[in-house]
């Protein structure tokens, strides 16, 4: 890609951004690292790496209990991230932001607290045919415990939700609709707001899995009117082991705690235990303080670029990737070709080659992609495939990265004798 194109077409300097990520300087098997696996976890800019070190150098301490300076500084930094997140996702109350270990734990928290108290025999839980196991297994297991019923919104062959029968899928018996905001396999961005309206009319609450959406586009949970929203820091430049659960205050208030221990209580005696106020009721024990504090820097980095800009840039790059990949014989994109309501997770299959061979070959050329079932075995079945290869994009990718992928996929087919 010429630098001119970058500057003219895109709203920020990708080469400058690339230089902020030290790992991108690494050579892999003698080649420049082309990192196309951000859907699994993103790389971290130097600011985030430094913030993590700084935390331990300057303010490391436990939070919410000590009465010394470090404890106060650490508590303030931790709570600053909470306020930042509340603002980042549309201006929620800070009491509605709960820190977890990741999206998976956020969803399990809802399944084991809200789910245990609100789902009864015969109730219906609606999910979709494009869910990650993190938003599927907790509900299937809850339904088993409660003798509840799992219903699924089907998908079209293009890889979008098929809402033609939605009024019969979400019914008065539906207690929960839990769906992904953006598919980690297909890239499809789902119409959360529309589904929330239908669900609320029927009296159901809605959880959206935002692991793949919050990092890549502006998300306003207040406007979407979702009841729960879950996402992870490590997929948006932050550290691993930090996740967020947003929940509407009135719903969170009525939920029992998840983990029991320190910090989540108000008063404890052997006769009577009372719970702490939100959000601390759901944050038992010492959390990943360093991770949460560092996440603040990641959010600032993204805001400085602008989530609108990120979304516009990735949409263009996704269109470019699809255009390039469909030029390769035998390759099929698994997901929408149209980039409207579509993110930068680009899955593909080769009619001759297994995704593992694709991934091993590309790795030998320095290109990191994901291969496998992407924790979505039921979706693989629906797509009539056992696995896919997936290139997933982020702000530090450019057309040169896509060109490298395209060229090596060509070389790969020659190597395996499928010219």
């Amino acid at each position: 890609m010429s630098t001119e194109t970058t500057k003219k077409d895109f709203l920020f300097d990708v080469q400058k951004i690339k230089s902020d990520f030290p790992i991108l300087q690494r050579k892999i098997n003698g080649h420049r690292l082309v990192y196309l696996d951000s859907g699994a976890s993103t790389q971290k800019p130097i600011e985030v790496i430094d913030a993590h070190t700084d935390y331990f150098k300057k303010i490391n301490s436990n939070i919410h209990r000590g009465l010394h300076t470090l404890a106060e500084d650490a508590t303030n930094a931790y709570e600053k991230t909470r306020s930042h997140i509340a603002k980042f996702i549309g201006g929620t109350k800070t009491s509605e932001i709960i820190f977890t270990a990741g999206t998976t734990e956020s969803i399990n928290l809802v399944a084991y607290t809200w789910g245990e108290t609100n789902i009864a025999e015969g109730d219906e839980i609606v999910i979709t045919d494009m869910e990650h196991h993190a938003n599927l297994v907790p509900w299937v297991m809850l339904a088993k415990r409660k003798n509840a019923i799992i219903k699924r919104i089907p998908i079209t062959d293009e890889g979008r939700l098929d809402l033609s029968d939605i009024q019969n899928i979400i019914t008065e018996k539906t207690k929960l609709v839990s769906l992904t905001h953006m598919s980690n396999v297909l890239g499809t961005v789902n119409p959360i707001k529309e589904i929330v309206q239908i669900a609320h009319q029927k009296g159901a609450v809605v959880l959206a899995d935002g692991a793949q959406s919050v990092p890549h586009m502006p998300v306003d949970v207040v406007d979407l009117d979702v009841d729960f929203y879950a996402f992870s820091a490590h997929k948006m430049l932050g550290p691993t082991g930090v996740g967020v659960l947003y929940g509407k205050e009135d719903i969170l208030d009525k939920m029992p705690p998840f983990n029991m221990g320190g910090e989540m209580i108000s008063e404890v005696s052997f006769e009577r235990i009372t719970w702490a106020e939100l959000p601390h009721k759901f944050e038992a024990g010492t959390p990943n303080i360093a991770g949460v504090v560092t996440f603040d820097t990641a959010l600032t980095y993204l805001e400085n670029i602008g989530m609108e800009n990120i979304h516009a840039y990735e949409t263009k790059l996704t269109a470019y990737a699809i255009k390039k990949l469909i030029q390769i014989d035998g390759l099929k994109i698994q997901g929408p070709y149209n980039t409207i309501n579509r993110g930068g997770a680009v899955s593909f299959t080769d009619k001759n080659l297994h995704p593992h061979d694709i991934s091993t070959f590309l790795d030998s050329k320095g290109i990191a992609i994901r291969a496998g079932h992407h924790c979505a075995q039921t979706l693989m079945k629906r797509m009539r495939t056992i696995a896919t290869a997936r290139a997933s994009l982020y702000i530090y990718n450019d057309e040169a990265d896509i060109d490298a992928l395209h060229d090596e996929l060509f070389a790969m087919r020659r190597y395996f004798g499928h010219e």
Binding site: N29, G30, L353, H354, P355, H356, D357, T360, F361, D363, S364, A371, G372, H373, M380, I386, A387, Y415, F416, G417
Partner: protein
């Protein structure tokens, strides 16, 4: 991971991958065994005909998977024909050791199978090479214990 792709995808391996042996399903079979590798979705179906002397009279392997699992299955089909059940089990255990980098007692010339050694440099792919051999061991064990065909299933996750 190794820099040299050709260490794993040796010519012999690519040859087996492109033209797998033992493709033809058997009309008469004494052992059927299915294996799968949940981490990548590879599936392998194996059929064996055993003669009166307990030697492998014929083999059919159908593997839907990556180049390594297909090639390994093809090599297996070629190698075990004519071998006794005892020999087959022994070589399977030795191949497992070879792939895991443990000391193996193989002294004889194992022909094409030797090329599977290259997979060792790619730890995530060892399971792919193991699939056919684990499916074989499972099938032979069940046969010797008197279990009827069509009920054998093995997963690469069983071998921790």
């Amino acid at each position: 991971m190794s820099e040299n792709l050709d260490d794993m995808y040796r010519e012999i391996i690519l040859d087996h991958y492109k033209a797998p042996r033992g493709k033809k399903p058997l009309e008469e079979k004494d052992i059927t065994s299915d294996g799968h590798n949940p981490s990548c979705g590879d599936e392998l179906k194996m059929e064996l005909k055993v003669d009166k002397k307990n030697n492998i009279a014929d083999v059919h392997v159908n593997c839907k998977g990556c180049a390594i699992s297909v090639a390994s299955g093809s090599m297996l089909a070629e190698y075990i024909k004519g071998k006794s059940l005892k020999e087959v089990k022994l070589i399977s255990e030795e191949i497992k050791k070879m792939l895991k980098g443990e000391e193996s007692k193989i002294t004889e010339d194992i022909g094409d199978l030797d090329s599977l050694k290259g997979v060792r440099q790619f730890p995530v792919r060892i399971k792919c090479a193991l699939l056919a051999w684990m499916t074989l061991i499972e099938g032979v064990n069940k046969f010797e214990n008197g279990t009827k065909p069509d009920s054998f299933t093995v997963s690469t996750e069983d071998d921790k």
